[in-house]
């Protein structure tokens, strides 16, 4: 079986690329070692939270800042694509999220739903009460934006692990917000004793249960307050759960992303995977890519012939016309290293811009604004998202790369993980569609 496109990795970039290509009519297959990045992060789309020049203040206008990158950091993935392509990709994501019933909005979106009215970053409270810059957020997180004036009531549940409303309220108060904390009993959410966030979110897919919770929230809230809750307001029936709860509470509600697993991320993952299934795309986890068959470059670019995935017996050869590497960096499993500091890309053995000695991985200060070479490095690609060698030549004519594996950016430090993934995944898929049309 030969598909048009084999996507390796089921995170933000891989899934968005798979969707973009499948919607354009390509036959697409996704293989992944496990389920990844959407389950780890806040479920927001961080485009550019901090620039490497200025780490003390968040970026206010990320799309404007991206335009500046073209001159200052020409190798940065955003610079390779240009602000216009980034914007196009974000528009495509936004349309998809709305189609999935999980709309995202930018600053000001709570009052005027829509993509982003001002082009500004929002500042949303984290699970420790710090403020995170982000560009697009799910509907249920918008009322948390620091630019809003309502005092905050942070509600937790007794016995719920890893969510401490007092800590959040106290830290918000220290930053000048009017914030207080309150607790509700856990048995409002479940009769069972041992539940994680995802199970609790599933509980609120049940209408009776959420109406009961809504009533309790109404009782707790003082007039004019907005209410912050752990991000557990429904899983598969989230939109209705959120609307019901907000109506019953009679106050603006917002979810605060918890420690993993991320319910907002999981909602998007499940909806997007179901959409891919509908488009005839197989999305198989438990299929770790461990190697590839290639015609090596020899003057001209080489070709990938197949990608091997591990099975319980012989490796399986997955054949496609085109391949997209979306395995992420060190955290995603796209790179591996040994104790000497040798670091390599795990599927094709592509060259990395990361130093091959551990003493060169880090700069002296942990919080160095220039970042650390080990996190800034990765796969060098051209403007079409094709991995290139040190001379800038495309390595394999039918191989593309996107997301966390790319060089010249530290998405965690810059708060740009989802933005990079969406922009590069979308651009790679479009380039593949164009290549197929030729």
């Amino acid at each position: 079986m030969t598909t048009d496109l084999l996507v390796i990795g089921a995170g933000w970039s891989g899934l968005l690329a798979a969707y973009t290509a499948a919607k354009a009519g390509l036959q697409v297959q996704v293989v992944a070692k496990g389920l990844g990045s959407m389950h780890w992060a806040a479920g927001t789309v961080d485009v550019l939270g901090y620039s490497s020049e200025e780490m003390s203040r968040p970026v206010q206008q990320p799309l404007e800042a991206i335009q500046g990158l073209t001159a200052s950091h020409p190798d940065h993935p955003y610079a390779l694509l240009g602000a216009h392509q980034v914007q196009t990709a974000l528009d495509a994501f936004s349309a998809l999220a709305t189609e999935l019933g999980l709309p995202y909005s930018g600053a000001g979106g709570f009052d005027t739903p829509g993509y982003s009215t001002s082009g500004e970053n929002m500042l949303l409270p984290s699970a420790v009460g710090s403020l995170r810059p982000t560009f697009l957020a799910p509907q249920a997180q918008l009322a948390g934006d620091a630019s809003r004036v309502e005092p905050l009531l942070i509600v937790g549940f007794t016995g719920l692990r890893d969510f401490y409303p007092e800590l959040i309220a106290e830290n918000l108060a220290k930053q000048g917000f009017q914030a207080r904390a309150a607790f509700l009993p856990l048995n409002l959410l479940t009769e069972q004793g041992d539940r994680n966030n995802v199970h609790l979110a599933q509980g609120l897919d049940d209408k009776t249960r959420r109406m009961k919770l809504g009533g309790e929230l109404k009782r707790l809230a003082r007039p004019g307050e907005r209410i912050g809750l752990p991000a557990i307001l429904g899983l598969d029936d989230h939109a209705a759960a959120f609307a019901d709860l907000q109506a019953a509470a009679g106050a603006p509600l917002f979810e605060i992303p918890t420690l993993p697993p991320s319910v907002p991320g999981m909602r998007l993952f499940k909806a997007l995977r179901a959409r891919l299934w509908n488009l005839g795309v197989r999305v198989d986890a438990g299929m770790e890519a461990i190697g590839a068959g290639t015609i090596p470059p020899n003057g001209a670019a080489g070709r990938v012939q197949w990608v091997e995935t591990a099975t319980t017996s012989r490796p399986l050869k997955n054949r496609a016309k085109n391949y997209l590497l979306a395995t992420g960096g060190i955290l995603g499993g796209g790179f591996d290293s040994d104790h000497t500091g040798r670091i390599w890309e795990t599927v094709f053995g592509l060259p990395l811009t990361i130093p091959q000695h551990r003493y060169e991985w880090f700069r002296p200060e942990f919080m160095n604004p220039a970042g650390h070479p080990v996190f800034n490095g990765g796969l060098a690609v051209d403007g079409r998202m094709q991995p290139v060698d040190s001379t800038g030549q495309v390595i394999y004519s039918n191989l593309w790369a996107a997301g966390g594996a790319l060089a010249s950016v530290d998405p965690i430090q810059q708060h740009s993980l989802e933005g990079i993934a969406i922009a590069t995944g979308f651009a790679a898929a479009q380039a593949i569609v164009r290549a197929m049309a030729q």
Binding site: M1, V31, K33, G34, L35, G36, H39, W40, Q192, G193, D194, N196, N197, V198, H199, Q202, P260, P261, M266, W277, R282, D284, A285, G286, M287, E288, T309, A310, T311, T312, S313, R314, L316, N318, L331, G332, G333
Partner: protein, 424 residues
């Protein structure tokens, strides 16, 4: 025989890969429906920290409620072998606390098969008799609701092979068929359908001496007995692997055990175990390979039917994608709809245990709802694993077939309703 000591060697290091992201617990179908199982992260990598360093007691009893479906392994982004950690923990608990007679019996599908075959009619009557089942439930703790397999009333698969030996195809192209206990004693028609498909594609089928793969024993924490079973199969089957034969099985959990479960759990890392593992194929994995080489016949008759198909968790644990979905849709008229349910809940012998029956039914709800959603035109479902088929039939009241039966029917060789070859 010395007590088998549980070795953590092959799974221990994977523990350090755990980043505590909880994706496993979020997708665990058992933890979702019961508090009795604390979830893969807690019972696996978390509890494992306390199992090492010669701790006299295992840290928890909840691991007995792990059904072994391996969804945790499938979703883990960092490759922790959670299900294997849990299986070893079960074995260690069993070594400490003993194994109930019920589990010893359920672990011996070959022995149960043979016993029932002495008088299959009587055995089937007893297993469907309310009074007998009440006694089994009260005395042994065997759940009353679970559908017991029906012993074959037409003789074993081996007796049919013997009877029809003269009609079997001779060919230069040969493969070895591993039928498993269920085909031997309960569902010989699955084996007959497989034989028909092999021969239709021009292969002579060798069925050498073979025994239970040992999976039910592994699931019921009887590692020493399972070890014996695996060594026996190595003795019988490795000579064929060495001659280059592909060893193809229709029972997905048997082939998984021969490939990985037995050598891995029992730490049998001999060259022989490796040779066997490399020679074993799941039936549809093998057919997909044949088709990729342009060698599989596609002279199908149309089957006009909507067929919901469930790839069982044990099948997905092969990490071979979904070869059934690469082959069955080639049949004209057949509308195969793949389930994305995590597990049917039955999980081998899990559903037969009284204290776990309701959990198994609750876990299966996701799948049963999928089947119901396919509409009233559905008269039959399909699944690759025998115990899952029995569980699905009891929950949906619809016949559930092995996909190889469907393929044999599409070749015009098999009656899908009556479950017999057109020409016996």
């Amino acid at each position: 025989m010395p007590m088998h000591t549980t070795s953590w060697e092959s799974v221990g290091p994977s523990l350090d890969e755990c980043i505590k992201c909880n994706i496993c617990t979020s997708y665990c179908p058992v933890a979702e429906v019961t508090d009795k199982f604390h979830g893969p992260k807690y019972s696996g990598p978390q509890a494992q920290r306390f199992r090492e360093n010669g701790q006299p007691q295992s840290p928890d009893h909840s691991v007995d409620y792990c059904s072994g479906c391996r969804v945790c392994n499938e979703v883990c982004p960092t490759g922790v072998r959670i299900a294997e950690l849990n299986a070893r923990a079960r074995a260690q608990a069993a070594a400490e606390h003993g194994i109930p007679l019920r589990n010893r019996l359920l672990g011996r599908s070959d022995l149960l098969g043979k016993m029932g075959m002495i008088a299959p009619g009587l055995a089937n009557f007893a297993m469907s008799n309310g009074l007998a089942r009440s006694i089994a439930s009260g005395v042994m703790g065997i759940s009353k609701g679970a559908q017991m397999p029906q012993w074959s009333t037409e003789g074993t698969f081996a007796s049919w092979l013997k009877r029809t030996g003269a009609q079997r195809l001779k060919s230069d192209k040969k493969i070895v068929y591993f039928h498993g206990c269920s085909t031997m004693y309960y569902e010989p028609y699955v084996g007959k359908a497989a034989m028909a498909v092999f021969e239709h594609n021009g292969f002579e089928v060798l069925v050498p001496e073979q025994g239970c793969c040992g999976l039910p024993l592994l699931n019921n924490a009887e590692f020493p007995a399972a070890e014996k079973y695996h060594h026996r199969n190595l003795e019988w089957l490795v000579p064929y692997a060495r001659q280059g034969y592909q060893i193809v099985g229709t029972s997905t959990s048997c082939t998984l055990t021969l490939k990985e479960e037995a050598p891995d759990m029992l730490d049998i890392h001999s060259p022989e175990a490796h040779e066997l593992a490399m020679a074993v194929w799941d039936m549809f994995e093998w057919l997909r390979e044949l088709h990729d080489q342009g060698q599989m016949k596609t002279d199908f008759q149309p089957i006009n039917m909507v067929l919901p198909y469930h790839p069982p968790c044990q099948y997905r644990a092969h990490h071979i994608g979904s070869p059934v979905m690469d082959i069955l849709p080639l049949i004209p008229g057949l509308d195969v709809r793949e389930s994305h349910a995590r597990c049917c809940g039955g999980a081998g012998t899990y559903v037969y245990k009284k204290e776990k029956y309701q959990i198994a039914m609750d876990v299966g709800q996701e799948l049963f709802t999928f089947f119901a959603d396919q509409g009233p035109q559905v008269t039959m479902t399909a699944c690759t694993s025998e115990t899952c088929r029995w569980h699905i039939e009891s929950a949906t009241h619809l016949p559930c077939r092995h996909p190889i039966e469907v393929l044999a029917a599409a070749y015009g060789l098999y009656d899908l309703e009556k479950r017999r070859l057109v020409k016996e």
